[in-house]
Subunit: 491 residues, 2 copies
């Protein structure tokens, strides 16, 4: 029966595997609204761990949180010319503010409650926030403003995939205001570094930092920077972005400040965000054909203790289990699974599918020996952990697992990063060995569009770490190379 609830192997159907891992891991459920998902407790707990970790890092870099309204006047969206092109196409619109009873039962919008100007559910908050900054900024003394918001946003999507693309999602959006271009550019890159180090240190997801091409830039940004991760199937996932907005929004919302010399200047801006998409990145980076695998640093439950006994041994075993639990609890996210309406095998199966990094089994023979039997979610033989030394050993094992998972993901990326020597090599490679393709790029926007149309691959970024392209010819366009670009097919 347990087998019936298994996961489709990755090799068979990657997309179905992804959905199975999420379903068996009990992370989300379908909502009765198109394109929306419910984040179930185990899925939300992963997001909470991400929030905690990022929020600490934001505050350590001088940021504070605030909250801006969900609804934005429709006219705000068209204030910044490029912004409206990017976001107007997929907005939920509020047009009425009251229901009335309908003849024959039920309710309907009350026509008398029609709004003079429709309101948009925020797809992102630059317009609302720059309207407010216009009220808050007058002098160089008011700068910088370093604000972040944790919020829900909405972008109407027809084709959805849990965590990766849903109509409503949870995210954070940082919006900062600066007196100089240099300071705003520095902030943009600082937050990119915060994202990158968080991804690697906590999520065990190695990322490439780089600049987006004009085609992939945020609507309204001067430059967009990104962290790009490579999934197990060789497709890329954009995992966080940081935008240098120049003075575009300050000009659109007429936000100026008086500088130290008494002159008025437009304010410089950045914005940066990551979302519940990171949970999707976690799933696709670490999970296996048994189900979810979570790095210890972000696992809601790091250790599960499963007592294994016959009735006569119960008291003795549970005393040992309670002792072990008490030892670990102050320092480790640990749970005892003492449900007595479930067989031990079913418990093992459930916690494996939920991605708990370490399982400790305690039976009467283990108690006699003063030890528990440990099993890593990432594989390997079972091994004994002495009760006397349990905390130090468990912490060491979790640390090792965290490091091993990052290394494994790094190895995977290295072995799936290729340099395109020729157009044929690139086209064939994308089909046969999907991955990151380094291209000494010399094309323009139109070339980029053609490559996308023909190969489904896009420029994920121009990596920050660049080798020289001197004397190289772009293998995709035949033009002189200007810069190394990283291409991939992407989610």
């Amino acid at each position: 029966m347990a087998q019936d609830k298994g996961v489709t192997p990755r090799s068979e159907d990657y997309s179905q595997w992804y959905r199975d891992v999420i379903a068996r891991g009990d992370l989300v459920d379908d909502a009765p609204v198109r394109g929306c998902k419910v984040l179930k407790p185990h899925g939300y707990a992963i997001w909470e761990a991400i929030q905690r970790g990022l929020d600490e890092r934001f505050k350590a870099t001088g940021h504070v949180n605030a909250y801006f309204p969900l609804l934005i006047p429709m006219s705000f969206l068209s204030r910044e010319a490029e912004h409206v092109e990017g976001f107007a196409k997929e907005c939920a619109l509020v047009t009425h503010h009251r229901l009335r009873s309908k003849e024959g039962g039920g309710v309907e919008p009350d026509p008398a409650s029609k709004l003079e100007e429709p309101l948009v559910i925020r797809p992102t908050s630059e317009t609302m926030i720059w309207h407010m900054y216009g009220r808050w900024i007058d002098s160089w003394r008011d700068l910088p403003i370093l604000v972040n918001q944790w919020a829900n946003v909405m972008r109407w999507e027809m084709k959805t995939r849990p965590f990766l693309r849903t109509s409503e999602f949870l995210w954070q959006e940082g919006h900062t205001a600066h007196a100089t271009r240099e300071e705003a550019e520095e902030e943009t890159l600082k937050m990119l570094d915060v994202y990158a180090s968080f991804a690697e240190e906590v999520l065990a997801i190695p990322v490439v930092k780089g600049r987006k091409s004009a085609r992939e830039r945020f609507a309204g940004a001067v430059e967009t920077y990104t962290i790009e991760a490579l999934m197990q199937d060789g497709w890329a996932l954009q995992s966080g972005t940081s935008h240098f907005l120049g003075q575009n929004f300050a000009k659109a919302f007429d936000v100026t400040f008086q500088n130290v010399d008494g002159e008025r200047e437009h304010v410089w801006a950045t914005s940066w965000g990551v979302s519940t998409r990171l949970v999707g990145a976690l799933v696709m980076t670490h999970s296996d054909d048994e189900g979810l695998v979570l790095p210890p640093a972000v696992a809601p439950i790091q250790v599960v203790i499963v007592p294994v006994y016959k009735a006569k041994d119960r008291d003795e075993v549970m005393a040992a289990v309670d002792g072990l639990h008490a030892t670990l609890k102050p320092h480790v996210r640990v749970r005892v699974d003492d449900r007595d309406n479930l067989r031990v095998g079913a418990k093992f199966f459930e916690w494996e599918q939920k991605g708990v990094p370490l399982r400790l089994e305690v039976g009467p023979r283990d108690v006699a020996k003063g030890q528990a039997f440990a099993k890593r979610r990432t594989g390997g033989d079972k091994f004994a952990i002495a009760f006397d030394d349990a905390l130090a050993t468990v912490q060491q094992v979790l640390d090792e697992m965290q490091g091993d998972m990052l290394q494994r993901a790094l190895d995977h990326r290295e072995s799936h990063t290729f340099t395109a020597e020729s157009r044929e090599d690139f086209v064939k490679g994308l089909e046969e060995r999907p991955g990151f393709y380094r291209v000494a790029w010399g094309g323009d926007d139109a070339d980029e569009d053609r490559v996308k149309e023909e190969t489904k691959a896009t420029i994920r970024c121009f990596p920050q770490e660049q080798d020289s392209v001197e004397g190289l010819t772009c293998p995709l366009t035949g033009k002189p190379a200007r810069e190394w670009a990283l291409f991939a097919r992407a989610y």
Copy 2:
């Protein structure tokens, strides 16, 4: 000049005082959407402290967090008959999902994107959550479900007041599902206790726990319990509610479970919530004519250190300030105000208006004596704190302030709680000495409506702690008294 930015005295105009305290405290700003406010960083930080404290208490009582969609199909609202009456009148309705460019510039809703069924922005999530629980609950083994959600909700309001009544607000809503009536009733009262102890221990707001009258009950609940606080003007503020929903929503959404005897039964439910309204309660309980006053347990900044020096003494003073800061920082939320573009008096004024509980001044003479000068936000003389003993002393002072603030609020409530001896006494009392009025109540719903119409006072609750009413006659109706009720005018 500082005087110009002061706060209207409470005695002069209580309502304007409230708005001034919030404005000078830099807690909120008006948003460009009717009835909505921006929570500025200092205001949001108070909400974050409330969230942290409550979330810990929810988890300690076995609850987990989850996230459900913002948008609810319109038809869901009319599934529970009373619920729709309570919430349909004030809903934001999403009817379209795309904008298009308008001739002559700007954008407009694309008529082709009209939704088949309008969606409601959640005013509360019982309907969405009970729809989902219908998918998750099948057997007694699936119960209880103890879920909480932190979210934004929207109830269209025409007359708004910051924190107390706004169209969009932030809150938490717990939604639990149980196998038995007893267990659900127990949960309802347990969460009322969690709210009450949090209000008293962290917010220093004494509350009366009690049951709502039928008139004031949550739409769809069998019983609503409340914590009621008394503001400085003698008006009551409902500060949190916990609802026993019976089987109403389980029946409306057909959610049944198989009990241990193999029979199908409808599930029992509770829901409970508090919101950013608690920040309003904080303001109106503790603040004074100088501005915001915050209890240390919930103050985003507990201690501010202000160096006071002439240029020649700078290094010496800042060395001492940095040392003091380093000593306090691991245990106290402390900030050094070393801005050099602001006079010392303006700094004192700003931190007072922002409600920071304790100010420490350090000048060259203090450094020579190895001490700082301390000033409590709640008044009293300045006093010296020796650097050697700073942490212990500061913690002791903050603890004392926390206790004193609760005691002061308790004293205020005691001195503003009256027993109505006669109808005349009650009516006159409400005008002359607003407060809680204990009434040996014997009326029915119609009597309650009449009292409200004539006096603007409502039954805030039937307090949990009840004296006997044996032999008493209701002073407002002349009927035999059934139960003590607490009346007040309320926000």
